[in-house]
């Protein structure tokens, strides 16, 4: 019997959560809505069974709460993803834990981080073209095979997930953690891997000007990845809160933009012309070379499309929600590129584990909650910006 936060199928609650968070007061009360209305409960359930010989049980030590998890809880995640999950499932895909069974490459008791993507090898299906070329995040067989549908551990009903006392993982998903890396850093490995993948997704020319929209975990780690792995030139970060600005400066952002000022703040440095449509926000003719959209909100993507020069690239790192006017995409001949998870072709996770040890990431995971205080944890995560926190995680060792 394990204790787990279980997301179950309840159309009523889903719609209620979605409806409530759409209103203005609802957005302010997001934390309490995720705690009380969303179809998630703390239950005792049976431990997940091992689906095959290459699998091990993993006891999570720390498991982070991601923006996509919050989107799931508030009902803002797109229904497109619904066939890619099998309910009831236990969320939690940013996991550092210890294995309980012996595997050829990973003996029991190893501390590992999880690459949550459940690809062909985990599903015991013949490899699709993407898995064959090492791009598991694009796997086509994500809904078939030995497991239920589930794009990642944390969305699959058969594997359990990070927000529980036990989950199961395939050997390919495991990446051992070096001893000197503490848990608080290791749990950042998965979001770091996503950020690393995002900056490798497109060619970042040397000296290119980049703007990052959103200074939460995704935005800050994208900034780190840009500085460490590419030769980008000036990188601007759009940050709302004071603590985010401090951290961005530590990560060597060129300048910080106030989202209230938005587009205007980049006008001068890119010597662009700014225009104000009768409806909608301003846009630049001219602008930066690339934009990384890291908020997952429609306004973020909208801003990104309006800030980028003709022929430029917009990378959507955050899971988008809601509609956006795509006229700039057409008119300025932009590239809109999606970046999801990470893959093994370029060993993103190894790079992520290396970057996780950097001293500048000190204090990114400072608040940890036991499962018993899950409503507080969601409330905190939903208001993380206001409350001065970057990432909130569950501490599964506190029973």
């Amino acid at each position: 019997m394990i204790l787990a936060l279980e997301y179950h199928r309840s159309p009523g609650r889903y719609i209620a959560a979605r409806g409530l968070t759409a209103t203005r007061t609802g957005r302010l009360l997001t934390g309490s809505i995720t705690g009380n209305v969303s179809p998630i409960r703390l239950v005792h359930r049976d431990a997940p069974r091992l689906p095959g010989p290459d699998w091990t049980r993993v006891t999570p030590l720390l498991s982070g709460i991601c923006g996509s998890d919050l989107a799931l809880l508030t009902g803002r995640a797109s229904p497109y993803l619904s066939p890619l999950t099998s309910m009831p499932f236990v969320p939690g895909h940013e996991v550092v834990g210890t294995t309980l069974d012996d595997l050829p490459a990973v003996p029991r008791g190893t501390r590992v981080v999880l690459d949550p993507v459940l690809s062909c090898r985990a599903r015991s299906t013949p490899a699709c073209r993407w898995c064959a070329s090492g791009q598991e995040n694009r796997c086509d067989h994500i809904t078939t095979g030995a497991l239920g549908a589930g794009l990642q551990t944390g969305f699959c009903g058969d594997t359990s997930g990070g927000w529980s006392w036990q989950l199961v993982a395939h050997a390919d998903q495991l990446h051992p953690v070096p001893d000197e890396l503490p848990n608080e850093r290791a749990v950042l490995a998965e979001p770091l891997a996503c950020a690393v993948h995002a900056v490798r997704r497109v060619e970042v020319p040397s000296g290119a000007s980049v703007v990052i929209i959103g200074a939460g975990t995704v935005g800050l780690l994208t900034l780190l990845a840009l500085r460490e792995l590419t030769a980008a030139g000036p990188v601007y970060l759009m940050a709302k809160h004071a603590h985010q600005r401090t951290r961005a400066r530590e990560l060597d952002a060129t300048a910080l933009i106030d989202p209230v000022r938005g587009v205007r703040s980049l006008r001068r440095v890119t010597t662009a012309r700014m225009h104000h449509p009768e409806r909608g926000s301003e846009f630049l003719l001219g602008g930066v070379d690339m934009a990384f959209e890291c908020t997952g909100s429609p306004s973020g993507l909208d801003t990104a499309l309006r800030l980028v020069r003709a022929g430029g690239t917009v990378v959507a790192s955050g899971m988008p929600g809601g509609g956006v006017d795509l006229t700039p995409l057409w008119y300025r001949e932009l590239q809109l590129v999606g970046a999801y998870a990470s893959h093994s072709q370029r060993a993103d996770f190894d790079t992520a584990l290396r970057l996780a040890g950097l001293p500048v990431l000190e204090g990114y995971v400072d608040t940890r909650y036991p499962l018993g205080r899950w409503r507080e944890a969601f409330n905190h995560a939903a208001n993380a910006g206001h409350l001065g926190t970057v990432k909130v995680a569950f501490d599964l060792t506190r029973r």
Partner: protein, 525 residues
């Protein structure tokens, strides 16, 4: 499980914190990064207090058990701390009542007839019969008042005995009845680390001639702090005097310590950490604050002065003062001590409505100064929480009100003397003697219920160390006239106070806030 005291760093998640300001309190959002010093959680009080008292009386340290010291025909004097302790007054029955009753029971069983009870009020005002009754209880009051239960009179020359001078030339002159007794039983409440021990008899029953040897500017400036006896020049003086007293007198001292249950249950939220306030606590806060603001001043004063604290007694120790006191101090520290790392540029203190000298009375500006710059500033061990030359910000309205009966000398001190100078050394040299020997003040002290003429000076000296140490003193919400008279600044909000402070400490100073009451002793490294 009582949690120890700790230092909070204000961050984005911290709700506004409670600050006391005279007869009221408010929630103040403190700047990010402020260090807030919290006392340990209130310890549980002894469940069987009478049994604990009995145990202490029968097992004292350094002296025989009390029954063995009592014999027929002896002269027994029971001395007890006056109304300046505890603060706020304890809910009845007072712990002194319990102790005195047990002592008297033992004395009656031993056949002692000659018993006197004396309130050790030193140069404080005499206690009224009602106050005496509240402290010692009905039975004792009816049996001993008015002939054998009285206040100490420090100006009654015929009833003072000069015991001699200490090695440093300090006169020791105490109450004659006590000096000529076979046994003095002292019933003490050690509320802070300052009281108890050698202070009890040597100060409580002393006269002006004795007191001026340690209640002076020089001694107080070298008491760093007077809540830390090993480093307090004042306590060194007490020790010397107590040594001389011990040679002449047998003292059986019973010391008690209290927990931090200072607030009655209706205002329990005042004792809780703000982020742990429940909805009920928040509603209580709002209701009480609004109601408090709507009361007329006289009614408000009555309400506040009539509050009694549901104190629990954490320890009772008895024996020879020198040997009992270390145990008592350990109990005090267990309840009040919090470790603090380093000093800061600015210290914030929220001053409550009560100090030792305005029980059932009015807090005048001089008393505010002594409470803030004296008592609260000196709640440290090691180093003050604010650096040398830093700024202290106090919250108090500092009303221009004086109690004409209790504090007559204060009125003249404030109106006539402080306008001349506020320098403690000048005050001491030029004016103290006059006030101490003025016959009208002496008469009011002896016959009425007034503090001794010299008392306002002592209040000023209490803050002498702080006056020397600080660069600026600002009162938030303070009356402009009274604060200016005393040489301080006033501001209407914290933001304004910080702005006034900025020439002294810069525009981004480090700030500490001592979250008292309840009392917390900061152990500053």
């Amino acid at each position: 499980m009582s949690r120890p005291g700790f230092v909070l760093q204000v961050d984005e998640r911290t709700p506004p914190l409670l600050v006391h300001e005279g007869e009221g309190f408010r929630l103040e959002p403190l700047p990010l990064g402020t260090k807030v010093i919290y006392p340990p959680d209130s310890l549980p009080g002894l469940k069987r207090l009478d049994a604990a008292i009995r145990r202490a009386l029968l097992n004292p340290v350094g002296i025989e058990p009390l029954p063995e010291l009592l014999r027929p025909g002896m002269r027994l004097t029971i001395v007890f701390d006056d109304i300046s302790l505890p603060l706020p007054p304890m809910q009845t029955p007072d712990v002194r009542q319990r102790i005195i009753e047990q002592v008297l029971e033992l004395a009656a069983a031993a056949g002692v007839d000659d018993v006197e009870l004396i309130a050790a009020n030193s140069l404080h005002r005499r206690m009224t019969p009602a106050e005496l009754k509240r402290t010692v209880g009905d039975r004792v009051f009816r049996a001993f008042f008015p002939d054998h239960l009285r206040n100490h009179d420090a100006e009654d020359r015929s009833n003072l005995t000069h015991l001699g001078k200490t090695g440093s030339g300090e006169d020791v002159e105490i109450n004659r009845r006590a000096a000529e007794s076979d046994l003095v039983v002292y019933v003490n409440i050690t509320l802070t680390a300052m009281s108890g021990g050698p202070k009890s008899v040597s100060v409580g029953l002393a006269s002006y001639r004795s007191l001026r040897h340690h209640h002076n500017v020089h001694t107080l400036r070298h008491s760093r702090s007077f809540n830390d006896p090993p480093h307090s020049a004042m306590h060194h003086s007490y020790d010397r005097m107590a040594g001389l007293i011990d040679e002449n007198l047998k003292v059986f001292q019973i010391e008690t310590t209290l927990n931090n249950d200072v607030f009655p249950s209706a205002t329990r939220f005042l004792n809780k950490r703000e982020w742990e306030w429940s909805i009920g606590d928040q509603a209580s806060y709002l209701a009480i604050r609004r109601a408090n603001g709507m009361l007329p001043p006289a009614a408000r004063r009555r309400v506040w002065q009539s509050t009694a604290a549901p104190y629990g007694v954490t320890a009772v120790h008895a024996g020879v003062p020198a040997e009992v006191h270390p145990q008592t101090l350990a109990s005090v520290h267990r309840q009040q001590l919090t470790e603090v790392d380093g000093q800061s540029d600015i210290a914030i203190f929220g001053l409550p409505y009560i100090c030792p000298y305005n029980v059932n009375s009015i807090m005048n500006p001089v008393l505010v100064m002594s409470l803030g710059l004296g008592y609260f500033f000196n709640l440290y061990r090691g180093r003050p929480i604010v650096r040398e030359g830093g700024v202290a910000i106090f919250y108090h309205p500092v009303p221009d009100e004086f109690h004409p009966v209790h504090h007559p000398s204060y009125i003249d001190f404030f109106e006539e003397i402080l306008t001349e100078t506020t320098d403690p050394l000048v005050l001491e040299a030029k004016y103290e003697e006059q006030f101490a020997t003025d016959p009208w003040y002496v008469q009011l002290y002896r016959k009425s219920y007034a503090y001794h003429g010299v008392h306002p000076f002592y209040m000023w000296y209490w803050g002498a160390h702080a006056l020397e140490h600080l660069g600026e003193v600002i009162f938030v919400g303070g009356n402009r006239k009274t604060t200016a008279r005393m040489g301080f600044r006033s501001a209407s909000t914290l933001a304004d106070a910080l702005e006034i402070a900025s020439p002294v400490v810069g525009s981004s100073p480090s700030i500490s806030y001592l979250h008292a009451p309840p009392l917390v002793l900061a152990d500053v490294r």
